[in-house]
């Protein structure tokens, strides 16, 4: 009985080997390829943290004190728009942009907080020195800030424009604008020597 079962198993294995062996070889070569690639592509959290630390120092040294504090406290920077007609024929109404790290730039009307557009733009480094084309967060913010304040029109033309809400939740952006207004009130009161909790 045992002999018969063993013989049957051997025959079955022999018949299935044509199907199984190529798959095993394929899986093995995939595993080898992954292992040979991993040393240069491996994500190193320590390296990324140090890069971000350097990027923050650079950002801090370039933008004004208000912008730096805004980024540190709120996680984004506001840049005032300077184009005469605005990015969307705003009729001369004051407008500004919110710069988030690795998220679209959002344009909005300063008075009403109406969101105008999202501008999707990146600064990919295709030399990929550590396997990634992505700048540290603060470098991405600085690149956007320099490009916006240095040549707003060119950056806006380069970016892919979308209606608000494509990537960033308009409610969340609205909340950020509310946080920004509150932050500015507290800051102004603090600079005037008044207690911060009176800001409301």
């Amino acid at each position: 009985m045992l002999l018969a079962l063993s013989a049957t198993a051997l025959v079955a294995i022999a018949l299935l080997s044509d199907l199984i062996l190529p798959r095993i070889e394929e899986a093995y070569s995939r595993l080898r390829a992954r292992r040979s690639r991993s040393p240069e592509l491996m994500f190193d959290p320590g390296r990324e943290r140090r890069a971000e630390q350097r990027a923050r120092e650079l950002l801090r040294s370039c933008v004004g004190d208000e912008e730096w504090s805004m980024y540190r406290d709120l996680g984004f920077i506001r840049v005032w728009g300077t184009m005469a007609d605005g990015p969307e024929l705003t009729g001369g109404a004051a407008y500004a942009y919110l710069i988030y790290p690795h998220r679209p730039i959002v344009a909005y009307l300063a008075q009403t907080h109406r969101l105008l557009n999202e501008y999707c733009v990146g600064f990919p480094d295709e030399t990929r020195p550590f396997g990634s084309a992505r700048l540290p967060d603060s470098d991405d913010v600085l690149a956007k800030w320099m490009a916006l304040t240095g040549d707003e029109e060119r950056l806006i033309e380069t970016a892919n424009m979308h209606l608000p809400g494509r990537q960033l939740d308009p409610v969340a952006v609205g909340r950020d604008l509310w946080r920004l207004a509150r932050w500015e009130r507290v800051r102004m009161r603090s600079q005037a020597g008044m207690p911060a909790d009176a800001a409301g």
Partner: protein, 77 residues
């Protein structure tokens, strides 16, 4: 600016010295040829800060203390 690294010092020198200036001009050209954008952080008399994009070495203010090179912008998704 470099992914995984942040700020990298590429070259430094005194533009008042001809030899240094020549070296800086060459490095500036190399970075632009590599497809990078260049900007100089500036501030006005009221202390307001912004950046000036520069396309040629002559456009860099003589008193600028640094030029920052960064990957050129590309439309994202």
């Amino acid at each position: 600016m470099k992914p995984g690294h942040g700020e990298v010092l590429i070259a430094e020198g005194d533009v008042q010295l001809a030899e240094d200036e020549q070296r800086l001009i060459e490095e500036f050209g190399r970075q632009l040829d590599a497809g990078l954008w260049a900007a100089v952080p500036v501030h006005d008399e009221r202390g307001k800060r912004d950046a000036r994009m520069v396309l040629a070495f002559q456009d860099i203010p003589r008193d600028a203390d640094r030029v920052i090179f960064f990957p050129r912008a590309a439309g994202g998704r």
